[in-house]
Symmetry: D2
Subunit: 473 residues, 4 copies
């Protein structure tokens, strides 16, 4: 992704299916609809009941797989993963699913989330002789399973789950079953679908639509699923659950056509826009959204405010890894990259620019300045979420406190820094109401940590932010 | 592009600049913003005043060029081209700019459009000994220039321009100048910009925004521009001009942030949507547009109709050439490709689906059926342009009469075929008004041939449709 | 190729076949055995009797073609080409076969050689309106054919052949026939083979062995062959022929397993080595050859001299275009590239180092120094051809007079420059005898121009050396 | 590799260097000269004293690395690996060096060889909780090191070395040192070199020549080297050593310019050829060798027998992974692949064909038949090593007993199967004498297991052949 517009980055999407003759292909299409959750690496592991075999690689799914490679992945069950990694590297060894071989069978593991006690667990495991080839939490979990004294895989897994803390959606596949576990807070989204006789699981429901699967239900916090040739078996691995799904999934990460806990993401976003208009009605001529993630909120704002929605900003499709970035001198000369302002739409107008969040403020500053250069007389920035003041320890790459502009600056200071004529954030209450969770308390069902600082799990002095892992290496 | 959604295809975009130290790079970024006009091939030719040197290749701009290749294109002037080609091939030899060498100097030529008398000219030229290495009109024009008895390049070019008929935006570059010609009807868009001291030309104004250039003016029909170290010189090459710019540029082809003849494309589209609502107000619950090109019109329709605009259809980004297409059996099982319907948005709703045009009807049928499967109770299809009944001879790949569903079927028959509950087309008058051209007569300034059958130029029995050229080979 | 060891470079190999169901594949394997004649570009054009279709690309044959591309080239006749090009460029447009389309049919043309009057012909053709898209002679010949007033292709071709001078082996294919022409001196090798019922032609007979074809005979100087569904028809296009095949084909270019005019190349080279020993018997401990082209001569020398042949120099396989060249500082530190001396073999020994030719002397100097560093007490350089004093105008990239060290220095001066203890060249008579052409006069059947300066054709003031063409661009 | 000519395959080459500013580049060139030892994967890990960073990939070194990637590997020490893998896969996870991270530092490990007790060790380690991500022995060794109770790395390594049996040349690098261990029999070659102030180690001495390093000495069986900023420190890790270097390194694997235990490989091979002539002098007209590995022996045979050495077989360069293999029907029609017989050289001749070994006999049969088709009246096959009757457990991919033709057939039976007029194998004594090891007893210093069945180490019922590992997966 381009540094210019990078701000928030999700850590991965997962997909799994058990008992389908086209398991690898179905997984390919499923992962494809989850590509927005990670573009740095992709992998699929299949099983034919006798062994596990996989292909992984760096880059987009379409770069890692081709017809021939997919044909080679014969089997009737599969799990897959798309991965986000910080620019500095990552390397092929961190691309999932990880595959472990032993004399008694193999095991593939894919993970979406972040374990807050990974560091402590690693110390323990290393003291017992474990060695690590990756910098991912996933490997820690594999070691815990392996080291469990229990006999059955289900018991081993439950045992291991008692030791990990944080956010996780684990998919574990052996020659005979697919196990799925979601953390007790259900921090990451994970849903169950059915295509023909086969069960599948995915980080987002949009994966079911693309493969023609029917949505069955969401995986519950603290639930352990076992899917095998006998069907789907569910049991809780803990009794202490407290639903707290990541609110940023609604605000920014998930695809608009996905539904999380029964709530459509596009609808939630549109409602955020409407609610924002209700909280702070700006007098303006046009409303515009920052593509792609803020379009829904902008339309909602426009509808509620009775101000026309216009395409005041346009995204340059085709910008990807292979795009040649303009040098500094060319940028100074005015060469744009990912976004352009549409002069005819904003010239001489008072513009409401709706965006979903402000992380470091640099992107907002660029866009405001772009709109003003294009002739906007006023630019009012409306953010469809509250100020983000606290780092996330659950799998989202939001830097540290120092880098979060709202952590160190008042709203007025931020407004001045980004050069806007006004700056409005949606209230936490407004956001929850837009999602359909009216009560703002412990049991609202949402994780609000990045806004409120109230983390649903313990946090430790050595809890590692995702983006710091790479530095450790 | 995917067969499923292919319908209309533009034939190319051009960009040129004279007198800038970063000529090749500026051309790269300019072409990048024109990538939607052609994804099958790209090329850039530069000159340093002493010779011409170029690189061309099949695929996207980012696939053809890398940092190293671009570095090698040293020079202070350049022209570039992005090309659309029918699936069957094309081949590297048809990728432009074409480069011709002679003892007295070299010449590079890039072309957007289609000559209606190319076949006749070829017969003449071959009889005189010309040989052809490509199947493009561009080569015909090069021969005409070479064979002109005139001495100066400007006279040669004017001479050649007297012989070609049809739609064309030519960019011709030698070691000492850049010449630009637009056909007497100005069928293709072409604009002049200025970046620093350098003049540039581009198929669309969005190219100027991306490179930080200022819009100067549109090239006029029948105008011949000469740009060299002395600046820009303009002269008419014919006195019989009759502006008739392609209306589909507003409806479908151009980028929403481009302005054609001073009219913003997004605004024109939004107006088409509004006007469509005025002409046929449907009672419905939601309005949705087919991404990406119909979003503006859908928003206009929603605004005028007072019905909420919703994201009822979502496009799967990341689908490209390297995406593995689902097999027939997987498709039957429900595997989608480029578009998904958003169930939560359309379920139980009466949906107005706005699209820009219907070519063969197959795509519309698929989308209607997708919406109904997702639970829409009614699907009303509103097309923001009139029925397309006649083939285009000016550079757009709209098949023959037989393939144009509106050429052989009534609106009611089409409605039935695509399975819609109602089908509305915008009137020609409404479309013109939306663009801001109220009068529908010879001098409305727009080419309406595909709707009305009135072609602004002569058409010959052997006039070749763009997509037929490949077959001829 | 690596600059370090570049010296002589052939200009291309050609292959053609008429009437075989696997025409493209056969051509692929045939060209593969000719890959040593050109590694910069490759192309194949096929015909199914109705049209011509081709694929060309830069790089090795295996880089240009894959299974899928080859499958697409369906047809029962084909011609192909492998191309050498100077480092500076070339570009895809110069890769052959060139393909020309006209209303009455298409024509593909592949060429091995160099026309000495190409420049003059170009002037004439341009004056008549011809335009050129490549810098190759091949295009000139296509224009001559097209412009011929004759009706039949055979007459057109004979007419065009009266106008070109120099070295050429032309393969021309239309939908209905394959025509083959060899210049009146037969400067380039060209042979006829038969595989099943199909006739084929190739630059070297090794192509026949690889495809399981039987050698029929060599094409004769001044012969025009027409191969079509009626078989092979031969006729002379000129009565003034004077066989003068390039002697360097025996010395350096051709593959050891090819036979030229009935003489095996390996055998000729071994004889050159023997004869060299007869002319100048050196007292030494070991004989070594510079791989790969000088091994045969070295073995012959060793056999005749009664000195053991040893592998004193070894070539680093796997060095190709993608090998990362050591920087200057690494080279100074001793990092080698393509060749290594085998210390154990040469240490403390008096070494006879046999090489086929000296062009600029730089390679020889490097090898001598490498052998001495590896402990050779004496290095005696024996060259299995006479001093090369004159540039070649017939398709071999031997620089200008100034660059040919033997043109400006005496043998003793060269010896000193390359640091050898002695330096011996084979005499012209010895070389001819080794080939089996005992008489050194006009009718020896060999071109000796680079050694003697007696060119078998006219040479003009504006005759262009192959490597200069690129500069002209 | 091509199935047709595959027979014996080495398992890897290693290179390491400590204390050189261009460590990664030097390693690149060193590995390049070892590319013949493994073409399926390559990797380099560097350290700058603070962390370890590496790049690995499938394919040739030149496919895995480019200028940019190599630039990224900044550091002053490095180890690298080239890997052979059976066709069926391997996968990126098996490409070395393996890299292990822990809270106290990282460790990279590269290995050439095969552990005969790997399976037993794995059982033990898994019981203690170890998990495995690769199918390589290397990972087993890493676990042993990690689990050692000792404090210093040197002690940990010595401890681990007491537990592994078989053939190994280990390179282990941390942030502060490079450790090197060779098995007590010294089954694999491994040498020490010096370039400037830096020490380097390599599987073959040819790597030193290419990088301009001086040969210091061979690593001794049972020796543990520690190389760090204080220089090189050596100590034995066992007192029970018994030199038994793989004899096939002389016969087939190593590069002719390498020296093993002071003996040049080319010279040893030439001596084998001479000795073969002494043991069985055939009356014939020409001697030819199978390129490339048998050329030295053939030259030796010719010299000793007084029969001319000729190039009767020629190898098609440029045949690689991307070469399109001829279909069965094309092969039957006579399309060749890697080797061709030179008709002019062998026609009507009695040919001695020297090859280094016979594994399954299929290749020999093809070559004999090729020579006869090319007109050889007699083909006498002379093998420069004894019959290979026993599988190798030390890192060479020689199939099982059943597949080794000499294990199940007499020499006369083999002769008949391959269609030769006579078949001669070199005697074990002759081979040893050629290498310069006159005594054939326990202390001859060579491993002769594949010829004699006397394995220098224990072998266990579950000892896994290298090529079987993939099947296990």
């Amino acid at each position: 992704m381009l540094a210019e517009i990078r701000g928030l980055n999700e850590e991965c999407g997962v997909f799994g299916i058990w008992g389908h003759p086209d398991a690898a292909k179905i997984t390919y299409y499923g992962l494809h609809s989850l590509q927005h959750r990670g573009q740095e690496g992709a992998g699929i592991v299949v099983t034919n009941g006798e062994s596990l075999y996989g292909i992984r690689g760096e880059g987009l799914l379409t770069e890692v797989f081709n017809e021939g490679k997919l044909e080679n992945l014969q089997g009737y069950s599969a799990i897959g993963h798309v991965r986000y990694a910080t620019a500095g590297g990552g390397g092929i060894e961190n691309v999932q699913p990880l595959l472990f071989h032993s004399q008694t069978g193999s095991m593939a593991l894919a993970h979406n989330g972040n374990l807050v006690n990974a560091n402590g667990l690693k110390h323990q495991l290393e003291a017992q002789g474990s060695i690590f080839q990756t910098s991912s939490d996933t490997e820690v979990f594999a070691h815990l399973i392996k080291r469990s004294g229990y006999i059955s895989l289900s018991d081993k897994m439950k045992n291991a789950l008692t030791m990990v803390k944080g956010a996780y959606a684990f998919l574990l596949m052996t020659e005979t079953e697919l196990m799925v576990a979601l953390d007790p807070n259900g921090l990451r989204p994970l849903s169950i679908g059915r295509v023909g006789d086969a069960y599948c699981v995915a980080s987002e429901t949009c994966a079911f639509d693309i493969i023609g699967a029917k949505f069955v239900r969401d995986v519950m916090p603290g639930e352990l699923l076992t899917i095998n040739d006998n069907g789907l078996h569910s049991e809780p691995f803990t009794l202490s659950t407290n639903s707290a799904i990541c609110t940023m999934e609604y605000v920014y990460f998930s695809r608009p056509d996905s539904n999380i806990h029964g709530i459509n993401v596009h609808t939630a976003r549109k409602n955020m826009g409407k609610r924002l208009a209700a909280e702070a009605l700006i007098e303006a001529d046009v409303v515009t959204g920052v593509p792609d993630s803020s379009i829904s909120a902008a339309i909602g704002y426009a509808e509620a405010a009775g101000i026309p929605y216009e395409m005041g900003l346009i995204k340059n499709r085709y910008v990807g890894r292979t795009f040649i970035q303009p040098s500094q001198s060319l940028r100074e000369q005015g060469v744009k990259m990912k976004l352009s302002a549409v002069r005819k739409v904003v010239e001489g107008k008072r513009v409401v620019m709706v965006d979903d969040s402000i992380v470091r403020g640099t992107t907002s500053r660029r866009i405001v300045s772009m709109l003003k250069e294009a002739g906007a007389t006023e630019v009012h920035v409306c953010i469809s979420s509250p100020p983000m003041k606290n780092p996330c320890f659950y799998g989202i790459d939001t830097s540290t406190h120092e880098e979060l502009i709202a952590s160190t600056h008042s709203v007025e200071e931020i407004r001045e820094l980004i050069g806007a004529d006004s700056l409005t954030f949606l209230s936490v209450e407004g956001m929850l109401e837009a999602i359909g969770r009216p009560k703002m308390n412990e049991s609202c069902g949402q994780c609000l940590a990045c806004f409120t600082g109230k983390y649903p799990t313990e946090i430790y002095p050595d809890t590692v932010l995702p983006h710091e892992k790479e530095l450790v290496r």
